[in-house]
């Protein structure tokens, strides 16, 4: 058995031991985002390049304004007739928005599929600490748990929609109708969401540590961990969660406003740094979870072969 602190320490060591994992995920994140953003930006520039006002607004992040101008251009072309320049603008904007819609559909797929695929390799690498990184094992891990992690991802999403969502809705409804008591519902939703997130991450960690590929096993093992070691788990996951939250707050309220006032390339570098730090915080949490599960190997787990 290891304590939450020891798991955190071990997770940190594992994070630093395998910078390649971090590098791979960061690069993949950047490449995926670029693959989505670049065609859209080029499409917008090619069809709207003659009217830089909209591109400037989009570059400032004013998506709503771009949509508004599209609607206005459409309405103007109705009022003025098809021969007007507003009709050309409306057509060009429509093309851009169509591209935006396609990207919006692709975005969740680009997020979930690679994450589900890479999850096995990442957790296996951390589980095999202190061995040297081995890319063939990494890829094997990816493939081995891809199906299960897809399923876990689906179950995780379902849990959020069916359990956490209603609490959020009820909390919001009470807030609207009554006021501050609504925050109780929101707080409960956040708590439930946190617990569910930890449960799902423990399911993945337990599957990899015990080399199992069964959803039922993963659910049971994770539940047993939560029941038996609530304090260690709270610490082990709570600290990285808190750090992530702290980083988000710093990012939104201090760093981002400061970066906005600099040149675009300084802001760009800063934003990449921000993504990297947040990614590292997540990987720290995953590695700590693996360390915790490994430390619990003395426990009797359903179907465990000793």
């Amino acid at each position: 058995m290891v304590s939450g602190w020891r798991a955190l320490h071990s997770g940190w060591v594992r994070l630093l031991r395998y910078p390649g994992v971090f590098g791979l995920l960061f690069s993949l994140n950047l490449v995926s985002a670029t693959l989505l953003a670049l065609p859209l930006a080029l499409l917008m520039v090619s069809v709207l390049g003659r009217w830089p006002l909209l591109i400037q607004q989009a570059a400032h992040g004013s998506t709503l304004r771009v949509v508004l101008e599209l609607v206005l251009a459409g309405l103007a072309s109705l009022a003025l007739g098809t021969g007007s320049s507003a009709a050309d603008t409306a057509y060009a904007l429509s093309l851009t928005l169509l591209g935006g819609l396609i990207v919006a559909v692709l975005l969740p797929l680009m997020a979930w599929l690679p994450a589900a695929f890479l999850g096995g390799g990442v957790l296996l690498t951390y589980a095999e600490w202190p061995n040297s990184p081995h890319w063939r094992r990494f890829v094997w891990g990816c493939w081995r748990w891809f199906g299960l992690f897809l399923l876990v991802g689906f179950v995780q999403g379902l849990g959020f929609v069916l359990v956490v969502g209603p609490f959020l809705l009820i909390g919001f409804g009470v807030y609207v109708a009554v006021g501050w008591p609504g925050w109780i519902g929101v707080g409960l939703a956040v708590l439930l969401g946190g617990v569910w997130q930890i449960w799902c991450e423990l399911m993945r960690a337990a599957s990899v540590v015990y080399k199992r590929c069964s959803l039922g096993y993963a659910l049971g093992a994770a539940w047993q961990f939560i029941r038996q070691r609530p304090l260690s788990i709270t610490l082990c996951f709570g600290v990285p969660f808190a750090m992530l939250l702290f980083l988000h707050l710093l990012h939104r309220w201090i760093w981002l406003p400061a970066a906005s006032s600099t040149g675009w390339w300084v802001a760009w570098l800063y934003l990449q740094l921000s993504v990297a730090v947040r990614l590292a915080a997540r990987l720290w949490r995953l590695a700590s979870g693996v360390a915790l599960v490994q430390g619990e190997s003395g426990l009797s787990l359903p179907g465990q072969e000793n």
């Binding site: 995920l25 960061f26 993949l28 994140n29 995926s32 985002a33 670029t34 953003a37 859209l40 930006a41 917008m44 390049g49 003659r50 009217w51 830089p52 006002l53 909209l54 591109i55 400037q56 989009a58 570059a59 992040g61 004013s62 709503l64 508004l68 101008e69 609607v71 206005l72 251009a73 309405l75 103007a76 009022a79 003025l80 007007s84 320049s85 507003a86 603008t89 904007l93 990207v103 975005l107 680009m110 997020a111 979930w112 690679p114 994450a115 991802g153 807030y175 609207v176 006021g179 675009w264 390339w265 802001a267 760009w268 934003l271 990449q272 993504v275 947040r278 990614l279 997540r282 995953l286």
Partner: protein, 616 residues
């Protein structure tokens, strides 16, 4: 003559009463020759939601034409059956609120007589929202009369600005009110769905009896209060130089007050809306201060702002002299949560708008039925200015995660749905959707365009002059035109002939750019002088003036470097320009902008991938 003598005598007595009341009880504006003054004594039966009242009207004929009959508005009759003009035109729905046939509203007048006891016969006309009574002797120019009547009124369940919901009472348009005698006729129309009101200035002395425990608010100031052993209370309000009188009552009202200069602001709010208090009072302070500075001082010593319950929103967002109603109303149709969280800034906008009406309706009392753009348009133009000063350029109405929709955006959007409509026109000649364009959005954009074309300082001088000249009066569009032309000293036909009376639209665009030439075009029938900014490859810039009379104009500069950038109306002064996206054209795509765009989107997608992926 005998009748007139008696009327005049009563008038003298009433005048004495009013003159005794006004200086000692309230420090209002200098009396602007009141025309129709009312003494009302009303009892509210909170069980049956019914009013029983006695009314005394003191009227002075300040025109040169003799008056042979009286015409009264009986507005509550608009809600007595589905067959009224109001309910037929509106389909029983007003601002999203439905008329409840189980709780209709109506008003009956009994025992109408001159003060000498001569009975008059009141006959309903049209759908019962108007009634007329022939005078035994015409009232000559400069003469006065006093008429008395009893009335009984049933309040409807809250609908179209008036009524009850549970223990909340919004009592507006509740008493028989005279039309406006002008140009030899009574200016009074049946109550139409889109139309609002028009009345003469006068003094109001109103006594209200209702159960103890009810908190009241009203036009004017409370000057007396007493309780009776039967469990009732009587409150008395007095208001000088106003065009209407409305009041509210609810036992759950809480009071919050703030002093803004010489003005006492009272906010009557419901306990569940305590979160509104600071926001409403801050907005009220900003509105009173700024409108006072821009147009002229608020002439009354008091302003009451009334909150409405969530299930009585039909009473919210309405202006009366010295009293406005607000509440959790969203101009975007969003939820109360969005308003409360500040994502939707409708609360501030509604309060600012209704307070703006104190200048453009209550004091400069234009005819809301015949020329709605003069009060709603001016008021919403003021609201836009206020929102801009309070919350930043354009006045954000929606702010979600940094995505901002401004009040100006909203107006541009609504305007573009029906830009061909003239602003001038009677309220009921338009559908509800058209009314919102002609009374609100087009006037806002037109006035903003006028401001940007003439300069803010000139515009404010116009508005101040207009306010000073027509306060406590009933100006028309042509009166405003005269002031504009006098103060601005230039031809603004594009505004009046083009936008107010005309149906033309405008869209300026830079349509092509070839080497040393640029082509700008005007699409639509309207032309407004504008400016062209042309930038050359060496970084130099020229500004050209263009009257916009031709549909296409070519600017050529053979002796200068090639043109890289051209913009028509570069500062977006012409807010009625239907599409701003095509006002600017460049010879080539600027790499820095493209890179900035790509960088922005890449980061945003990285963020989403991190959030959705779980692993990253």
């Amino acid at each position: 003559m005998r009748l007139l003598f008696r009327c005049s005598l009563a008038g003298v007595i009433l005048s004495c009463l009013f003159s005794l009341l006004s200086p000692s009880l309230v420090s209002y504006a200098v009396a602007p020759n009141p025309v129709a003054s009312y003494i009302l004594d009303v009892t509210l039966d909170v069980g049956t939601k019914r009013l029983r009242g006695h009314e005394v009207i003191h009227y002075v004929n300040r025109t040169s034409e003799a008056i042979s009959e009286l015409v009264f508005h009986l507005y509550l009759n608009a809600f007595r059956s589905a067959e009224t003009i109001f309910l037929r035109e509106s389909g029983g729905v007003h601002r999203g609120n439905r008329w409840d046939p189980q709780h209709p509203g109506w008003i009956r007048v009994d025992n109408i007589r001159l003060d000498d006891g001569t009975p008059l016969t009141l006959e309903e006309v049209a759908d019962g929202t108007l009634a007329h009574a022939v005078l035994p002797t015409p009232l000559q120019a400069g003469e006065t009369f006093t008429v008395e009547l009893d009335f009984e009124a049933q309040l409807p369940r809250v609908f179209a600005r008036t009524g009850f919901v549970n223990d909340f009472f919004m009592v507006g348009q509740w008493f028989p009110k005279l039309g406006v005698w002008e140009k030899g006729v009574w200016n009074a129309y049946p109550f139409h769905a889109n139309s609002e009101f028009y009345a003469d200035f006068g003094h109001y002395d109103v006594t209200i009896t209702l159960p103890q425990g009810y908190v009241t608010g009203a036009t004017g100031a409370q000057v007396a209060a007493s309780t009776q052993p039967n469990g009732n209370q009587t409150v008395r309000y007095y208001a000088a130089n106003v065009i209407d009188f409305a009041w509210v009552a609810c036992p759950r009202f809480r009071e919050a007050e703030r002093r803004v200069g010489d003005i006492q602001v009272l906010f009557l709010y419901l306990p569940e809306h305590r979160w509104m208090v600071r926001r409403v009072l801050n907005t009220a302070e900003a509105a009173l201060t700024r409108c006072g500075r821009w147009y002229g001082p608020y002439p009354y010593g008091r302003l009451t702002i009334v909150d409405v319950p969530d299930d009585a929103l039909g009473a919210g967002g309405m202006e009366y002299p010295m009293l406005v109603t607000a509440g959790p109303l969203s101009v975007l149709g969003l939820s109360r949560g969005a308003i409360r969280s500040g994502v939707d800034r409708s609360l501030e906008l509604v309060v600012a708008h209704e307070i703006g009406h104190q200048w453009w309706q209550s004091v400069v009392a234009t005819n809301e039925a015949e020329e709605p753009w003069l009060d709603e348009g001016f008021t919403d133009y003021s609201t836009l200015r206020l929102a801009g000063e309070m919350d930043g350029p354009g006045g954000p109405v929606l702010n979600v995660g940094g995505q901002v929709l401004s009040y100006l955006d909203m107006h541009r959007l609504v305007y573009a749905t029906a830009p061909h409509l003239p602003m001038a026109g009677r309220a009921w000649e338009f559908s509800a959707a058209e009314y919102s364009v002609v009374a609100y959005t087009k006037p806002v954009l037109a006035l903003l365009t006028l401001e940007r074309m003439l300069g803010e300082e000139t515009m404010l001088r116009i508005m101040r002059a207009y306010f000073a000249r027509y306060r406590f009066a009933h100006p028309s569009t042509e009166d405003f035109r005269q002031v504009v032309e006098e103060v601005a000293g230039q031809d603004v036909a594009w505004f009046f002939d083009g936008l107010v009376y005309g149906s033309g639209v405008i869209n300026y665009a830079v349509t092509s750019m070839e080497g040393h030439e640029v082509l700008v075009s005007r699409q639509g029938e309207l032309s407004i002088p504008t400016e062209i900014r042309i930038t050359f490859a060496d970084g130099s810039t020229v500004f050209e003036q263009w009257n916009g009379e031709e549909t296409v104009h070519r600017f050529a500069y053979p002796d200068r470097p090639r043109i890289v950038h051209a913009a028509v109306d570069p500062d977006h002064k012409i807010a009625v320009d239907l599409c701003w996206a095509d006002n600017l054209l460049t010879s080539h795509v600027q790499l820095a902008t493209v890179v900035a765009l790509a960088a922005q989107w890449i980061y945003r997608f990285q963020d989403v991938l991190l959030a959705l992926g779980g692993l990253w």
